[in-house]
């Protein structure tokens, strides 16, 4: 999809869809949305839908930051305590390093 060829109302529609889609525990949609529409929201000259796009993008950025924080914390905790948790952690793992606890 090429944003340059889209009409502004279509852009808003798309931006909203990504924003709403992110609530289905899909943080990547928010991440993509915040980058994709960043220029539209903050740099482009004013247009009618800009304010709403801006709201969505800001919310997406906040959502993304929260998700990154959550995931990072989990990854750190998991990596740190995986060996101690034993079999529960093994069952949660996709790839278990060989020859290591």
């Amino acid at each position: 999809m090429d944003l340059r060829r889209m009409k502004d109302e279509e852009k808003l529609d798309l931006c909203r869809k990504y924003y709403l889609g992110g609530f289905a525990l899909l943080p990547f949609l928010w991440g993509i949305n915040s980058i994709w529409f960043f220029r539209e929201a903050f740099y482009r000259d004013h247009f009618d839908q800009q304010k709403q796009i801006k709201t969505y993008v800001i919310r997406c950025i906040i959502g993304t930051i929260i998700w990154v924080a959550i995931i990072t914390t989990w990854v750190v905790i998991f990596q740190k305590y995986r060996a101690d948790w034993g079999m529960i952690a093994d069952d949660m793992s996709f790839i278990i390093p060989k020859g290591e606890l």
């Binding site: 034993g86 079999m87 093994d90 069952d91 793992s93 996709f94 790839i95 278990i96 060989k98 020859g99 290591e100 606890l101």
Partner: protein, 736 residues
């Protein structure tokens, strides 16, 4: 486009040709010297621990340091500046204390041991000083547990049960060993005047012996089962030999066949057989007609273990014992017509596998008896052998380590002996052993009353049933064997002089001794069964000394002996190994050759030769229709005397001998692996396949850094240069 494809194809082909001709190898050869003839210590796991050795997944590298005598260790531990080290030890220095000192120093990344079968240390036993204490009979007994009243294996240094942080590798080839010492250590690493360390370049060694499994058996079994994203390797072994394998895979059907296992359960098969098949007395309702406590079990173990893969000679630990029991079985087999199948007590021979690992073979057989069907399924409305329950066993005579030429001791359990019935049975057996021993000038005393049982399969049975059991050994309070479960448990330690291929039946002192012990065992069993002595011949019941000599030759020196050639079928005969057997039980998916041969030898000794063709003999359906009490086994038989070639006439044996699984019940689906009830020993999968050792020169650190910097500098300079060239390409190349 096609041109580029063609050029790259040519390049690939050219390169692979170069590789084959060794051009590509040259750089490798210039850097490394590969040490091929090695065998290594590897990792095993039980319910709670990992034991043994492993390198890092990528291999362990260190500066090679040769320690010919213990005194020179101090320099390495206190002064050696070039850590980590790979330490090269002679056999005399290689012992438990040294390994622990090296572990404590934190400077050592691996150990190489120079193996030598002639210049032995005084003792070396890597097993625990109280073997198999985790599954002993005396657990929780304040007086006897953990060998409190008798330390059976005082030489045990416990290395087998220790989790060693670095790899230990034994070197077998003298040329390679002297390369390591002369070309590597002496030239580059040996401290000047014995104290001043040398400077770089130093000679380093790398050991790759990575192990995949960690922590304990439950963990690695669970990891193997986890359906994860790891690339799967197909686990396939040589199925052709494995008559028992089908049963094995059934019993562990909890493990997916094609998943990535990172450890394999230890296991194999027990061999057992009866002098006469035990039949139902009443064939209409198949009620239990076997008298409680009537079976006399004659048992021994089939396996030993050691630190290094493939080097488990087990001469004293196990071979002498099972050869003795086989010889006793042969003696009884030759007179079995005089033992009544109904009136006299049945005799059962049992050869347990995997006993070195917490008695797993006997534990499994007892489990099979309890949970049935044992020995085979009873098919209603058809004839078949009587099932055996643990309660049917009344007497147990175990042959332990018996190779020492001095006197023997009969051990019994002081706790069971408090029961009068048990005690009278024990006394009867001990009296018979002593009496028959005296007839042959062997002193067989009963061991002191305050002694518990030495490590033995009998302990497993006494945990569950009250039976009169005696263990026959050559020691009283501690093992005479200085190399229990060791890689140095060689026949030369037990006064066995090697006989030659043409002289396989020559009776050596050891063969004579074991024949006498076998005779005593056979006579005792005969008397226990019938209540009187054998009176069919003038000399009484005798074991065959030349047969014992032959068995010793087969099991000590060369499996390509006449007896094994005789008892093997065509397929097995082709697979008789050139080198002596290895008595490690191994993983269950790799059936042990020893087990298969013991089954055949026992069948030959106590079975009946029948006149059947090879085809009829081996066809399952026909023999099952014929006689459900027996298995039929085809052997190559004796060499045809009238034929000029090595052609054999063939022989069909009708036999009660069979195998049953010796894998711990812990691995049966539904049982737990936590090791409270059953042992759960497993062996880790080896990461890189074949472990390897290589040596090379380690340059100075500054030299390494300079090389790296120069490389980076060249890269940095080349990028703008190339950019400029590209820009000014028109000057260099004529513009069109």
């Amino acid at each position: 486009m096609g041109g580029i494809g063609f050029i790259s194809m040519t390049l690939i082909i050219y390169c692979s040709l170069l590789y084959d001709t060794g051009w590509c190898d040259r750089v490798h050869d210039k850097i490394y010297y590969d040490v091929f003839s090695i065998t290594q210590c590897f990792r095993r796991l039980n319910a709670t621990h990992q034991v043994g050795c492993a390198s890092d997944q990528g291999g362990n590298v260190g500066v090679l340091h040769y320690v010919p005598a213990e005194a020179e260790l101090n320099w390495l531990i206190n002064n050696g500046p070039h850590k980590p080290y790979i330490v090269l030890l002679t056999q005399h220095v290689f012992n438990g204390e040294v390994i622990h000192a090296l572990r404590k120093s934190g400077k050592v990344n691996g150990v190489l041991v120079i193996m030598n079968t002639t210049d032995l240390p005084a003792h070396f036993s890597p097993d625990s000083s109280c073997p198999n204490t985790n599954f002993e009979l005396y657990k929780g007994d304040s007086k006897y547990e953990h060998c409190k009243s008798a330390m059976w294996n005082p030489m045990g240094n416990d290395l087998l049960m220790t989790d060693i942080e670095f790899p230990i590798v034994a070197l077998l080839n003298e040329t390679q060993i002297s390369f390591l010492i002369d070309e590597c250590y002496e030239k580059f690493n040996k401290p000047v005047n014995g104290t001043t360390p040398r400077s770089y370049p130093l000679c380093g060694a790398e050991i790759k012996a990575g192990m995949d499994a960690v922590k304990n058996t439950p963990t690695c079994i669970n990891r193997g089962k986890t359906r994860n994203l790891n690339p799967r390797t197909v686990v396939l072994s040589d199925y052709s030999l494995s008559v028992i394998l089908d049963d094995i895979t059934d019993s562990v059907s909890g493990f997916p066949q094609f998943s990535e296992q990172i450890c394999d359960p230890l296991g194999d098969a027990n061999v057992f057989g009866f002098l006469h098949p035990i039949r139902f007395q009443n064939k209409t309702d198949f009620n239990d007609t076997l008298e409680e406590g009537s079976i006399i079990m004659a048992a021994t173990k089939l396996d030993a273990t050691g630190l290094f893969q493939y080097i488990v000679p087990g001469a004293y630990t196990t071979v002498a014992g099972f050869v003795t029991l086989l010889a006793a079985a042969q003696a009884l087999g030759s007179v079995k017509e005089s033992i009544d199948p109904v009136r006299d007590k049945p005799i059962m021979f049992a050869f347990f596998q995997g006993e070195s690992f917490d008695y797993m073979g006997s534990i499994r057989m007892l489990y099979d008896m309890e949970h049935g069907p044992f020995p085979t399924e009873v098919i209603k409305d058809s004839d078949g052998p009587h099932p055996i329950k643990p309660g049917h066993i009344g007497y147990f005579l175990e042959v332990g380590q018996v190779a020492s030429l001095s006197g023997l001791y009969s051990h019994s359990d002081p706790r069971s002996n408090q029961n009068d019935t048990v005690k009278s049975g024990v006394n009867k057996m001990e009296d018979l052993l002593e009496k028959f021993g005296k007839d042959l000038n062997i002193s067989i005393k009963s061991a002191s009353d305050d002694l518990p049982l030495p490590p033995s399969s009998l302990q497993t049975f006494l945990k569950k049933i009250n039976i009169s059991g005696v263990v026959l050994t050559d020691h009283e309070r501690k093992f005479e064997n200085q190399f229990y479960n060791s890689y140095l448990d060689l026949y030369s330690n037990i006064n066995y002089t090697a006989t030659t291929k043409d002289n396989q039946t020559e009776v050596t002192a050891l063969a004579q001794h074991l024949t006498e012990v076998a005779t005593v065992v056979a006579r005792t069993l005969y008397n226990m069964s019938t209540g009187h002595q054998y009176n069919g011949s003038d000399n009484g019941l005798m074991a065959d000394s030349s047969l014992v000599a032959e068995m010793l030759y087969c099991f000590f020196l060369s499996p390509r002996c006449e007896l094994l050639n005789f008892t093997s079928d065509e397929h097995l005969a082709k697979r008789l190994p050139e080198v002596p057997f290895d008595y490690y039980v191994g993983v269950e998916r790799d059936p042990s050759l020893v087990t298969l041969h013991i089954e055949r030898i026992l069948s030959y000794f106590i079975g009946n030769a029948v006149n059947l063709t090879a085809e009829n003999c081996t066809t399952y359906e026909t023999h099952h229709q014929r006689n459900p009490y027996y298995n039929y086994m085809w052997m190559r038989g004796p060499v045809n005397a009238s034929s000029a070639t090595e052609e054999r006439v063939g022989l069909c044996m009708e036999t009660t001998v069979n195998k049953s699984l010796a894998t711990s019940p812990a691995f049966i689906k539904g049982n737990d692996l936590s090791g409270t009830e059953y042992p759960s020993w497993s062996e880790s999968v080896w990461s890189a396949g074949i472990p390897n050792v290589r040596v090379f020169l380690i340059p100075d650190k500054t030299y390494e850094i300079v090389t790296l910097c120069v490389g980076i500098a060249v890269l940095v300079v080349s990028l703008p240069t190339l950019f400029l060239f590209n820009r000014r390409a028109t000057i260099l190349f004529l513009a069109e």
